[in-house]
Assembly symmetry: C2
Homo-oligomer: 347 residues x 2
């Protein structure tokens, strides 16, 4: 992605230091955070300095590789412990597990420390490259669903900063815009953390894509009035039957889209599919601190003494999903289609 005319990824590693765009500081200030150990990586994921399914996945793979680089012996127990530490930072996003496993499997049984370090670093880099290429392909396939002069709704931020580059939900929009299609994006502000108004709006502004931020309450209104042609969101975990966990509110948008005959697409690569998860009821849902609802930028917005509930994700049952835009094309959110898709990665 281009930011101030310079090309960036959301996360990368240089000389054993993980560098990442600080997503807590956006859109007010563009800063690169540097993480030098596993505790810092874990903390960055938990506080959401690092966020977005695929960026979290890359943080896992880079984090594990970084830990390997710091070793003075091929200590596989310590590596397993690090995988556990990083893997439990956030419960819903499956990419995290996928990213950690990718590196972990690459070094499994390796006892030569130098080779282990090389393998871990190479695996983390390959993981990032594959993620980027998957997102580019999602963009190409998704672009075919976007007609000229389209009004698109998206929820949360599944853009380049959430995915190393290109985005998942935003990749098709980015490529449609590059293709000189007219697109206009309704950006759900996405309470409580405002990833839409802070991050998606910022990405669209940087790319000169036309958009308007709306309160999450207003997307139903625009669907009802025929002003939304297609909904595209990202995903944090997709079950074998197509049920999809994504940012809280996604389920609401999907139900409203179905009610108003608006096609509703999920955009996600292989790393978001959890083949061990049969259906949405198996997906753990993170509940975050009530302060995210009661405060805004550290300023209290509710009366003292008020309590809040704050589920961070919801599960959209597959029956509300028109299709899943993957790096291999658009697939049905059905058990059969997903099995074939998953099988296509086994070689």
């Amino acid at each position: 992605m281009k930011i101030n005319n310079k090309t960036y990824r959301s996360i990368w590693m240089e000389n054993g230091i993980i560098k990442t765009i600080d997503q807590l500081k956006l859109p007010w200030s563009f800063e690169i955070a540097e993480l030098t150990n596993r505790e810092q990586v874990a903390s960055a994921i938990k506080t959401m300095l690092i966020r977005g399914a695929l960026t979290i996945g890359a943080a896992g793979s880079y984090g594990l590789a970084q830990f390997c680089l710091s070793l003075t012996a091929a200590d596989l127990d310590a590596i397993a412990e690090t995988r556990e530490l990083l893997g439990t930072t956030r419960p819903t996003a499956y990419d995290l597990i996928h990213g950690l496993d990718f590196v972990f499997n690459a070094i499994k049984g390796e006892t030569n420390l130098d080779i282990l370090k090389q393998k871990a670093t190479a695996a983390a880099e390959e993981y990032a490259s594959r993620s980027i290429e998957s997102c580019r392909l999602i963009g190409e396939y998704g672009n075919k669903l976007i007609k000229n002069d389209s009004h698109i709704l998206t929820h949360c931020n599944a853009g380049a900063i959430a995915t190393i580059d290109y985005g998942t939900a935003l990749a098709p929009i980015r490529i449609a815009h590059k293709d000189e299609k007219l697109v206009f994006v309704f950006v759900d502000e996405t309470r409580p953390r405002l990833q839409g108004s802070r991050l998606t709006a910022w990405e669209h502004r940087e790319e000169s894509i036309s958009f308007a931020i709306i309160a999450d309450n207003a997307s139903g209104f625009y669907m009802q009035h025929g002003e939304i042609d297609i909904v595209i969101t990202g995903a944090d975990r997709i079950a074998r039957n197509g049920d999809t966990a994504n940012k809280i509110g996604t389920y609401e948008k999907a139900v409203l889209a179905k009610e108003n005959n608006v096609p509703f697409y999920i955009a996600a690569p292989r790393s978001t599919f959890d083949s061990a998860c049969e259906s949405g009821t198996d997906i753990p849902i993170e509940e975050r601190d009530e302060a995210e609802v009661l405060e805004l930028n550290g300023v209290r917005i509710a009366p003292l003494g008020a309590a809040a509930r704050n589920p961070s994700f919801d599960v959209t049952p597959s029956r509300y999903i028109t299709g899943i835009i993957t790096e291999k094309g658009v697939i049905e959110p059905s058990r059969d289609a997903i099995s074939s898709y998953l099988d296509s990665f086994k070689s």
Copy 2:
């Protein structure tokens, strides 16, 4: 309503001065604003210092009466001009028109200035008293719909401060609580203006009713998980066929309630029914300043250069509404039932 152990109405008139709870200052500070002329009343409605369908209605009736008190001659043209000035402050809420007409009709053709002033004042007081009694009855009828140990969802604020006293949507909850039923309220925060987290939460806290604030995005999640037994909201205008305008997001909640077999009720008295309005498509929808979405409590939350759209209301088609809780009981949201209800007020 009791606030700090003192009894209040949301708005009243004393010696020609309109006094009202300043709803912009809540929940941070409880202050009574004093309005001495029609321009101040109009401005208070526009800025939402005065808000809530029935409180706006009373502001209209008191505002017109106050203007009459200031006259030095029975100038019916000036009265008509004031009715127009106040009646165009906010386009969606029908109670405003109803409140103005109630006073206007009471003084129509009156040429004796003293009698005109007496009639105007008496009409405004009668309007307020009728509103309060209607809300009390809505509370009694609505209470019958609330089982012991209920989880209730409400959107925006249709409480005592929105309605002179008792509330519309909140009156049944208040009375159920007084009846010692166990109730727990999920309070939608209601972006962009946060009437839920600011005002409904504050009212519930003052009344010691159990509640949790949730992001508007989360109510679908709780319905999906069977944690909401009933939804009750207020209304800003009800058409003859039952289509109902209310705070933006109400339509979303109604669709989600239907999808999850959760009963969805509107609570409103006669003054919210617009007998000249055949269906929801006739209801004008106010679009407010984009700053309400781009800022929060005056603090920018979106990147510079970002635009927003901000429809303040939406229309819920009657097919999503289980019933309308009125001062004469719960009625069907159908043309026939509403016609009978409206006819019952003609004598």
